[in-house]
Every structure is written in C-alpha cells, then in structure tokens.
Symmetry: D2
C-alpha cells in the first residue's frame, strides 16, 4: 500500500505541486473530464510518477465520495491538492458557487474524514478572494462553519445578491480560505494540516490564451504594472505547496498564502487601484 496524494484538477498548478510532493507515492488524479485527467496523468507518468485517474464532479457529494473511496483503496491518503474550479469567465454565479464554494467544502469534509496522521493538504484559491471588501464576522463564520449541504442556502449567496460571476468567484475564494480555517481545527484531530494558497496570475496554457484573447490587454496591463512585473509560474506555486505540505511547514495550518506578484498590494495601494 502506497501513500496516496489526491490531486483534484488536472491543470498546471495541481500538477506542479504534485511533482514536488509525490515522488515514490501514488497520485489519484481527478478531473471533471476523464480526458483531461488522462492527459495530465500521461505527462506525470512520463515524469516518473505513479498515477491513476478518475472523473470527478466536485459539485457532487456522491462524486467526491467515490473519489475518496478510490483513494483509500489505493493506500493511505497523506496529501490533498485541491486545484479544481471554474473561473468567472467560464461560468454563471450559480455554477461558480456550486463548484468553487460548495465543492471545496465537501472535498475538505470528506478527505478530512480519511486523511492520515501527519498528512497535509492545500486548497488553491485566488488573489480575487483578497479584493473583496471585509465581510462581517457573522458572514465569515457562516462561510467557515455552515454544514456543507446548507452552504448554498445562505442568504448572502442568493441569486438576487450575487448577480455577477466575478462577485461569486470572490465570495467562493474568500469562502475557501475561511473554510480551510475551520477545517484546520477538525483536521488537527487526526494530526493533519490544511492550508490555502491564493495565487495571482499564473501562466498556464489557459492563461496564455486569455492573455492573447479579447480581455488580454487588461491582464497584460495588470502584469506590467504589478510589483513583480511578471506573471508567476506553476512551479513557483509548487515551491509554496512543497513548503506547506512538507516537514518545513508543520507549524502552518489554517493559513492562506497570497502569492500574486504584489497585485493585491498594488490594487489597494498602487497603480492597479480601480479608478
């Protein structure tokens, strides 16, 4: 029986973290589309990793239950890399909340029920969660602790209040970090840890398309004016993921690591401030 790393989301960021923490372990790689999972598994297998795949819809509790069952059959689940989600340019507010907010809550609940002693997980959120104004203490607590299957019924998340995909995305990503805080307490009962990484603009094949697409000018301006003056690489997210999931990060749990080239700083106090 191997140690198992569950990777949800077949994209570059999940892969980059997986590369840093999965040598000699078994990766269970889940994606909404089996074909995406298989393509990523082929790349990781060519890079020496032992990978199996499954199609998982993270907006479905049943589907996540099946994923967790697959993983526990493969070995002891010592790691979680949750990097699946839909972006505001891809989906409606309802879908974004269902996948990014509810789905993450269920993933944390179900993987948190089986995570091994000494295990560790990371959830990929977004710098977008850092742009939303402060919520009330009560709203924070609702997002953090409402039972997963009640989450989407919260008044603050109803369609009349969340009409814009970007707003839904910001709420979902803020909610991810809050949920991770509450789950960090629960995961600790099993001797495990969970943290959030909030990346900024990271170059992936999809991001490259966006940078040359109709909204590309805005993104390119954001990159040029940002303190770092460049976009990030998935491998840089891998650096942070490796720290959080490895022995150097064992005092870190319930945290949210913003790594955005300074975009958030500039949004609030620099050239990227909205007019």
């Amino acid at each position: 029986m191997s140690d198992v790393i569950i990777v949800i989301g077949a994209g570059s960021i999940g892969q980059a973290i997986a590369r840093r923490v999965s040598s000699g372990k078994h990766i269970v790689l889940a994606d909404l589309r089996q074909a995406n999972a298989d393509a990523a598994a082929a790349v990781l297998s060519d890079a020496g990793f032992d990978v199996s795949t499954t199609a998982t819809d993270v907006s479905s509790r049943d589907s996540i239950e099946a994923l967790v069952e697959t993983a526990t059959k493969a070995g002891e689940v010592t790691g979680l890399i949750h990097a699946a989600g839909v972006s505001p340019s891809q989906a409606s507010p309802e879908t974004i909340l269902a996948v990014d907010l509810y789905g993450t809550a269920v993933v944390l609940e179900l993987v948190g029920n089986v995570i091994a002693r000494g295990g560790s997980g990371v959830v990929i959120a977004s710098q977008s969660g850092h742009r939303l104004g402060a919520l009330t203490t009560e709203q924070d607590a609702e997002l953090a602790t409402t039972p997963a299957d009640e989450l989407l019924k919260l008044p603050m998340l109803q369609p009349d209040l969340v009409t814009d995909p970007l707003h839904a995305y910001q709420l979902a990503k803020r909610g991810n970090a809050l949920r991770v805080m509450a789950e960090a307490v629960r995961w600790s009962k099993r001797g495990a840890r969970i943290n959030t990484i909030s990346p900024g603009i990271i170059i992936t094949p999809l991001a490259k398309d966006e940078l040359t697409g109709p909204r590309g000018e805005g993104y390119r301006r954001m990159i040029e004016l940002s303190p770092a003056g460049r976009a990030g690489t998935p491998d840089e997210v891998g650096n942070v993921g490796a720290l959080l999931m490895g022995p150097d990060g064992t005092f870190i749990t319930g945290s949210d690591i913003l790594m955005d080239g300074g975009v958030t700083a500039s949004y609030f106090y620099g050239e990227l401030a909205p007019e």
Copy 2:
C-alpha cells in the same frame, strides 16, 4: 564590499532567519540595547557569520537613519529582517504604537530607499494582528499610506480610543501588514520585495519565561488546544523567511504569512474561541 543583511532585533527569530540567508554576507545587527546586539553577534560569529552591531532605537527616525547609513557603508543592502518590537506585556499603548507601528513604518521607508535590486525583506508581525476585527477600508488605507511621521496622529490611534496594550499591539501588527503592502509597491520600483510573517507562539528564552510565569497557564492552554498542539521554533520561522527572501519567493511580495500552529483558526472556529 559585501552584501549586507540588516537585522533589527537581536532575539531568536531574527537570528534564525539571519542564519538561513546570511552565509557569505555581512550582517548589521541592531538592537535597542547594545549589550543584546553584542551577545547575539557573539553567537552568530561563533556560527561563522560576519557581524557588526549597532544600538538602534526604532522609535527614532534619527536612530534608524544612522543604522541605514552604517549598513550602506558596509556594503550593498540586499536584505532586511525587521524583528524588533515590544510586546503588550512589556509596554504602554503609546510605546507599542511608537515602536511597533511608527518604527516599522520608518524602517520600511528608510531601508526601502537603499535596498538593492533583487533585495528582499521580512517584517515580523504577530498572529495578534489576525484577531482584531476588520477595520474599514479607510482605516486600512490610513495605516498603509499615511506618511510615517503623521501616523501616530491618526484619530483611530489616539489614547482615548486605544487604552489597552493588547489593542495597541493588534493595531500595530495589523498596521505592519498593511504598511508592507503599500511599501511592496514602492520597493518594487527598486526591484525589491517586502513581506510580513505573522508568527504565533514561538519558543524563545523570553517565551519560556512567560510560559512558566504568572500568565503561563493561559499560554500553555493555548498551545495544548491549538491544532498543532505545540509551540513553534524560531527555525521554523527561518524556513518561511528563507523562502520569502530567496529565489523561490520572487513572486511573493506584499503578502502576510500567518504561521501560528492554527491558533487563529481555533480562535475563530475552534476550542480557542473567546467565551
């Protein structure tokens, strides 16, 4: 001419980060008390580091100016580790704001004027900054961007509103993270980066005294009930400092890394919640 790392505060955390990033460089070590600086310098020198010391009062612009002049004479300033401060059990609200809030603002301003291209700094704040409720957007901006010498005149910081040392400390540490965001924009003009680390309970000689002192029971309970179930070590802060100041952290600037063994998570959503 060597590369120079400025370390402000002779305590264990500053030393631990310095050990990770200063081999082959020159450390200019500043502390309020020359004797403390000398003692730490002796330890670091025995550990192979090249160190000079100076007495610096971080609540005094003149004193920080002298420190920066000393550092630039010694070489090119490629790093800053700002780990000086007073704790709520040591000082009045006025002193806490003067040292921890105003002093940090001046340090960031003056070191930011000379930091080398490719340079990087970390400011040690505290988990305490994460417990304060949300400030308004305007208050955030005031703490982030008010010219340093005007900071202590802000209405929100006046003695009638800040009567408790812990409140002053939380405001100062929240202010540090906000200030770092604004300075991250400015430091980027020189090709440099600056981040905050917010540690939880870290074992140092002083902390060991507190754990066995009159308020020790509260601290020990906090540690026992925390998700990590233990206090942290300065060397673990060194791990995060090394990441932030080194090549693996070049996409991270203006961020605040909370590393507290999950105490903040538990304060909001676990056993450490205030009654």
Copy 3:
C-alpha cells in the same frame, strides 16, 4: 537585459532543473536537434518561462561558441544546466567520448569564460561514472586538466583501449566530475560555482521505452533490487539542482552529487553486485 540560464539538452532532467531556477529569467535552450529544443521550449513556455532555442552540437567548439554568443547577447549568464549527452546504447565509443567528454570540457571552458559573478552551473553525469574502478592520480589529472582540444588524444582514450560503449560512457562521466573539479577552481576566479550531479535511473520518456524494451528486464531488476526500490523522477534531480544553484549551495563547488536510489551502494556491497 535578463539573467540568462543556459540549458543544454532538451530532455526531462534539464527541464526539471530549469523549472526550479528560471522563474523571471530567460532560458536559452540548446539541443542537437532544433525540433527537440522547440518542443521543450513549447512546454516550458506554456509553464510560464521565457525561452529561446538554438541548435547546438556539443561535440563542436564552433557550435558551443555560437551558443555562448547567443546567450550573452540575451543577457547576463547566471546559470548553466548541462544535460546533453549520448548514452551507451545510442552511440559508438568515439561518439560518446566526443560528445560526453570533449563536449562537456568545451562547454565548461566557454561558459566559464562568461559566467556572471554569483553564477552557478550543474553538469549532469551518471551513476555509471561511479562504477568504474579507480583511475591513477595521473589519469585523474589528465582528464581534469588536459586542454579540451587535446583531451581526445590522451593515450587512455584511444580506440584500442576503449572498445566498449559502456566503458567509454563510464570514462566520460568520471571525466565530467573530474573536469568540474578543475573548472570549479577556474570558475571561482569569476565568483561562480560549478558542480556535477550523477543521477541513477530517472524516469523519462526515453527511459520508459528502455524499461519496456529488449533490455528492460535488466533495468527493472536493478530498480527492484535497489535500496530505494524505485526509479527517480526528474523533479528529484531538480531538488538537488535547485540546492546547488541557489543560495543554500554557495559553499558547494567542485562536488559530485550521486543520487541513484542506492544503486551504486548495492552494486558494490549489495544484491546488485556483478557476479
């Protein structure tokens, strides 16, 4: 002008190290075959790296000179990852010595003429170099210090003495580590460092083919009987490369890091001993 990392050899190992040390820098990627360089560049570009390519024949001084000229035009050469070579199953003894031994000597000479202060390089050798019995002190010195263009004239390398491709390969790889020692002295005059990594069986697309090919059984047996009980991943070589090329490795130069899952240990003192 960017910092430039020269990567010679478009295979997985060179790419994995490049991913760890090239964020925010420019990669000049050279391979014997332009198509291979372009394919690797496409992968790295999709992963957020800034890459240009060139076709380089490392057995030709003129070709390496052209590569170095291309690199210096692109910026300051702060890093070298030399991962090109031919394996004993691919080539004759003459070709192996020309590419792996002579080519590496010329690469080290010419890149060593331009490497930046603070720069660092790694040469990928092989565990095979550790299996060869001890050479004499004189032979070691000849391989280390004979001018590159005289190297292939050494009596010990003549065709009547080196008839087997594996022998040629072992000599070349031993020679790489020796050459790196001598060059470490020379590179230090520019404030730069150079080291060797000697990997064991690392999974790459080519290695996967070999493992399922006619000689696959021998390789699979070697893996199964090895102390690690598994092959390595390119990303694990990336871990060592990142250490050697980064600030944590500045006291390491002229060294050869064997990372082979214990195969060499077992070859000499374990189940993998030749009968």
Copy 4:
C-alpha cells in the same frame, strides 16, 4: 510517543542539522561528556526543541547500545545525526580509528537495527577523506563490510602502517563513506536511508580557536585560496542535512556529499595543491 532524532555529538554541526529536522520531535542528544550534551540541550531547548541527553562513548559498543535503548524508549527513531568524532589534532591514530571508524560502524549497525520505516540518517565525515589516494577495491570492501568488531584488526589499520593522526583521520573518514554505502543496503530493508556529508572548514567555536591558534595561518591560507574564499557555516551543513533527511532526498541513499567550498578541487587542481 514522539518521533525521535538521535544526535550524537553536541557540536555546532549536529545542532544545526537537528534544528532543521526536529521541530515537533524529540531529540536524544548524546555526547562523550554529559556537560557538553547538557549545554547543547540548553541551547536547543531555549530554541523550542524537546531534548533529553545522555553521555555516550561512541568507541564503546555497550555505550551505544545504551543510547539506542534510551532512544527507542523515548519513541520511534526516525532520524540519526552522527556528528561525533575526534580530529587529528586531538588524538592518537589509535583513538581516531576507535572513535571515528569503529564507533561509526557500531552506530550504523545498532541504529540501523531500530530505524523506522521512512527514517533517514546522516554521518558527518570530512573533506579529509577525499584527499586520501584511491584504495584498492579490496580495501574499500574491507572498510565497508568487515563486521564492526573485526574492523580494527584489518591489516591496513595496524599501528605500523598508520602512524600519523592525519592519515588515521583520512582513513576513518573514507571508511565512514564506504561503511555508509554498505549500510545503505541494509537500512533499505527497513525502508530507511543513510548518507554521508563531508564538510570542509566549517566555523565552530573550536574552529575559531584553531584559526587564531598556532596552526591558524595554514587554515586561513586554505580558506583564502579556496574557490569559495570563505569558511562554511554549520547552518549550510544544515541545508544539506535537511535535504538528505527530508522528502526531497528520498532517492538519495549511500551517497557522500562533499561540501568544502572547493578546497578539495583546489587541493587536486588548484592553488591548494601540496608542493
């Protein structure tokens, strides 16, 4: 029951590695002199580590047996840092062989009998082992595999052949690396790894004394003429120790990592060559 790290030798190098790998674990710290162990334990305890001490004479099998029993009673032995030894300026050839060669062999044997699955160890050897000319294949095998209690009876180690403390030291340190190779095979049966680090001149309080003592000029010349142009720090050895003992090093076993600022390279092919 904690995870236990056995640290043998209370000096700076062992402490520096321990700091990197022991947060949240229990350190059993052994030294020949109880007072040295206690002093180091006080430093580590002030730095947040959980430490117990014992006096151990590594030239005595009984004493090492007692150490291992103490360690296994404290928890599961997941790590070994063997940094004890005598230097050629401190002892006779007989003592050097008894402590540095025989003692290390017994430590590796007895700790290797109890090391946990996934555990890892490092043995601190020395650059001196790299200066000795090549031994024969038979001599290598004798040093690697002769039962520990027979080791000192080997003909090559008899007093008429080993008359000089430096020669004894070089043989012992070469022997450490060879012994580690053979033990890497045996440790792998328990799923554990063991490697050697061969440091050059590392600044410690003892080394500082030597640098200013009667033989200081030779050492200072060696440092100045070395490629690195400086001595190393214990924390830099900690970097390598952390890699070898952590998840990034799981493909490395039976290796010997030379980290000497290029002194060995220069000894063979540079300014430090003996006349």
